[in-house]
Amino acid sequence: MAIKLTPQGWLIYATMALYALAFVLLAARRREAGWTAYAAAFAAAVASYVYRWVHVGHVPMQNVFEVLLLMGALMAPLSACCRRWLGVGLESADALVAIVVLIPAGFVLPEAPQKLPPALQTPFFVPHVLSYMLAYAIMAKAAVQATAQLVAHRRLDRPGAYERSAYRMVCLAFPLLTAGLVLGASWGRMAWTRHWNWDPKELWSLAAWLAAGVYLHYRLITRRRSPNVCAALVIVAMVLIVLTLAWANFDRRFAGLHSYAR
């Protein structure tokens, strides 16, 4: 754990501070000021990402540090779009998620630039990582809604309202999770000779995709009669995603073809 006294570090901390301000203002129901802080946090996150891009000389999606910067930048527009077009709320919690995502980037992970290894120089690289990061950010929002369903279901006027929001988020994320998996498998065929290499990270991401599939089928069969079980399934899928991104990347027992992502 170390403070980064570099321009990159300061940009990350500014983003975190603005997200924290947005969280406080939105939680205090000062919506206009809260959204202004959200917009400022997004601007800082974009500045941080662009700075990284210029610094490393390639699209910064190579390691966990860079993808966390990307996720931090995605949360604000995602929150705004979901509110505007899907009517999914709890934006203050999204700000909190963004802060949690940026903590490892700001204090734990090294920021030393790395050259792109030969395997990453392919047109699959950006769409594969971008699909997954978008899907993970949306699934994080789904997990927030699912948690709200489990915590507040007895106090709701319309039981299952948060679960319906979670469902909309999962519907948005599932094609992206599928695209990430499929693009990764296609890339694996090009770079590593096989579509599927039984690599730990591949298996973790398959488990997350299957868990999302279980949720969608279970919701269909129960016809929304068990919103709490559905919410719990969304949380299980999110836990698997967190394990894919965090545990599978850093624990040495999961060393494999994706180890360059550390």
Partner: protein
């Protein structure tokens, strides 16, 4: 019918959950063990059950047949699983029984110039590939011939594309290993070449002093490195002195230092693990890609010419050829059979397209229709 539908759906959920549990269990093992686990007979039964349920879905659920997105997603899953099974070792065994003999995987060693009309494929146990393959084969050693391709693969050229070096200072790196020290036996010392010029360095955990006697700077032609730097160092231990010249060659900048000479009384260092000195700079010798120019000849005629690099295999004659290594003027290619490959690709497109159609486009279309209806009503 409703009961059958519910049972089918419930069974599908159970199979998906079981596969998720299996994937997590496999993730805790090395990839070869995970493959063995999840392709073992009990798990193959689970994969087959999934395929069976997906097919059953088309029979019992009207939505499978009537809704394009749902049909594409589930049909895509069948194609991916079926294509992968057809391309597996077991699938190739089945193909062999059906009269289509083809190795699922093999290695080809290619050299410049004309060779024989056929290209032998060796088995996958070849990991540390010897140059003298003929001797290895005649000795009945590590490698075995698994197939014979009916065309010749010829190497036209091989090169490693390197990143341009960065503009930072040259570094003198010393990498030492002390087997007798149980805690942190490896010691790495790093000094900028200019700084090392000024003052002698005492090597950590030793009483050896290293002094740079002279250094010739590197020369550049624009960003290209024309001449690497040359450094002469003096190593001193008590009364003993040793001079060493470090002149790294392209691609082999690591030079062993003769510290064994200074340490007759130490059991730590032998010739094979004596400390090494590295003259380098950040971003030096970092490969961007490996490129092998390969041509395919059939009946003496060139039919294909291609550059194989990482992410760009050559597809010819039912095989994909991948770059797998190079030594001297030999290049090792890995050949994998393309059986089932097309079905998997079509399956991928169906699964992704179907999911996007069903979960994105259909709801957007319905919302737009609802909005238009409201507008008309008002």
């Amino acid at each position: 019918m409703r009961t059958i539908r519910n049972i089918t759906m419930l069974a599908g959920i159970c199979v998906l959950a079981a596969l998720a549990v299996g994937a997590v269990a496999g993730a805790f093992r090395p990839s070869n063990e995970a493959r063995e686990l999840l392709t073992s007979r009990p798990w193959m039964a689970v994969w087959c059950a999934l395929c069976g349920l997906l097919v059953a879905g088309f029979v019992v659920f009207g939505a499978f047949r009537q809704r394009v997105g749902i049909a594409a997603m589930h049909l895509g899953c069948v194609l991916v699983i079926g294509g992968t099974m057809w391309g597996s070792r077991a699938g190739h065994e089945l193909q062999r029984r059906l009269g289509r003999d083809k190795a699922p995987l093999g290695y080809a060693i290619i050299v410049p110039g004309a060779g024989s009309a056929e290209t032998p494929l060796y088995d996958s146990r070849l990991t540390d590939w010897p140059l003298d393959v003929g001797a290895e084969l005649s000795a009945g050693g590590l490698i075995k011939r698994v197939d014979e391709l009916p065309f010749e693969l010829r190497l036209e050229g091989f090169r490693t594309d390197l990143y341009p070096p960065e503009t930072g200072p040259w570094l003198l790196l010393l990498d030492m290993f002390f087997p007798s020290i149980s805690q942190d036996p490896r010691v790495t010392v790093q000094a900028e070449l200019d700084r090392a010029n000024r003052q002698p360095m005492l090597l950590p955990k030793t009483d050896i002093t290293l002094r740079v006697v002279s250094s010739t700077p590197a020369e550049y032609d624009g960003r290209e490195l024309v001449q690497r730097p040359v450094v002469e160092v003096e190593l001193v231990r008590g009364e003993r002195r040793e001079m060493a010249r470090i002149e790294p060659e392209q691609g082999a900048s690591r030079v062993g230092l003769p510290l064994v000479f200074l340490y007759h009384d130490s059991g730590d260092w032998f010739n094979h693990n004596s400390p090494a000195i590295l003259l380098t700079r950040p971003g030096m010798d970092v490969p961007r890609n490996f490129l092998a120019d390969v041509s395919v000849h059939s009946d003496g005629e060139q039919v294909v010419a291609s550059t194989i690099s990482v992410n760009h295999p050559l597809h010819y004659g039912g095989y994909h050829f991948y770059f797998a290594g190079a030594e001297g003027d030999h290049v090792l290619l890995m050949a994998t059979s393309d059986s089932g490959w097309l079905a998997v690709w079509v399956g991928f497109v169906c699964v992704t397209g179907g999911a996007a159609w069903r979960l994105w486009l259909v709801p957007v279309y319905r919302a737009a229709r609802r909005r238009a209806g409201r507008r008309r009503a008002s």
